[in-house]
Subunit: 204 residues, 2 copies
């Protein structure tokens, strides 16, 4: 998740958020936690897909560099550091097809800063595409209350030609697909994956 | 990795092992660390596949439950615990096809104890198969110096009918495929994946 800055671009681990029945999902969190909120909502959507047998998408755990471990108690880790994910946060399978994506939030209303994407994620997604995997970003325009599925090939092309720039909202819209929001799943991105990547709807 | 027991079935994180050029890969480690050795060797094999553009298989980071974080220094984690992977250790993509597997070591020469496999891994692999993913185990018969690729559907069937038992070596051999060992890749399991799962060689 972007927009939740730790020194060195590191990210905190996120516990699975249980949504009590009948409770509205849009949790009230401090502005700094919006990125985590988005992650929890994606996890909820993925849980829904698994429960319904529609797809199996899992979040990779946040990598942690362990420095000191107390084996007498647990083992209990007593010194460790968050590491940057060298891949993306999510991958999985839909009907045999490999799916890989990264989720990003921005509070901008006009453009998505590419500085939000580490080079290693671009490189990872390039490898996914080379292996014919389905690769995309879910971009959360937080203040607009819109989430877009944007195919990774477009983002990569933009990144490679303007690495320090931002993708204007209007331009991203032309290349992306608005994700339907609801209660369960919170973000219903799977129909877009099927339609865009598997039904040869390559008009965009 | 099995056979490297932590209290509560937890597993230590493993750093990527760099193999210096021309150096033999079979590192000398304490017997208790053999499981980690196997993991490092699989990681090396996966690195080879990525470098050659043959497949993209990554290891999921070991999940860690963070309890206390010192934000003034880093952030530095000052209290945390290893968690059991709720999925498998490895997944990835070969030519669009989703691959998911777990690596296990045993020091038995006669049978592979199913207690080595947590139920949640069986359940995860069942979901992978339901989504038409390629699912298997790499089983390292450490004292026999043999590694087999064993399709997950066979292991799952055995597990579901004899959950507290062991799979005899000879029976596993009938359902598995001997993995060719070498210098790079250390364990060349990809040709078996292609042959068994993708070329309709379902004779076993």
């Amino acid at each position: 998740m972007s927009e939740f800055h730790y020194p060195g671009g590191m990210k905190p681990p996120v516990s699975k958020v249980e949504i009590p029945k009948g409770k509205k999902l849009h949790l009230k969190v401090a502005p700094g936690n919006r990125g985590l909120d988005f992650e929890a909502e994606i996890n909820q959507s993925n849980d829904y897909y698994v429960e319904k047998g529609l797809a199996l998408i899992t979040k990779r755990p946040t990598p942690i560099q362990t420095v000191k471990v107390d084996y007498a108690h647990g083992p209990k880790i007593t010194e460790a550091f968050f590491q940057t994910q060298s891949t993306t946060d999510y991958n999985g399978v839909y009907q045999g097809h490999y799916i890989d994506f990264e989720a990003k939030s921005t509070r901008s209303k006009t453009s998505f800063p590419l500085a939000n994407i580490p080079l290693q994620q671009i490189e990872h997604l390039e490898k996914v595409i080379a292996q014919k995997g389905i690769a995309f970003f879910l971009i959360n325009w937080h203040l607009l209350n819109e989430v877009y599925l944007v195919p990774a090939d477009y983002i990569i092309e933009f990144y490679r030609s303007h690495p320090r720039s931002s993708i204007p909202y209007e331009e991203m819209k032309e290349h992306g697909y608005l994700v339907k929001q609801g209660y369960r799943p919170r973000y219903d991105y799977l129909p877009i994956v099927i339609e865009h990547f598997l039904n040869n709807d390559k008009t965009k």
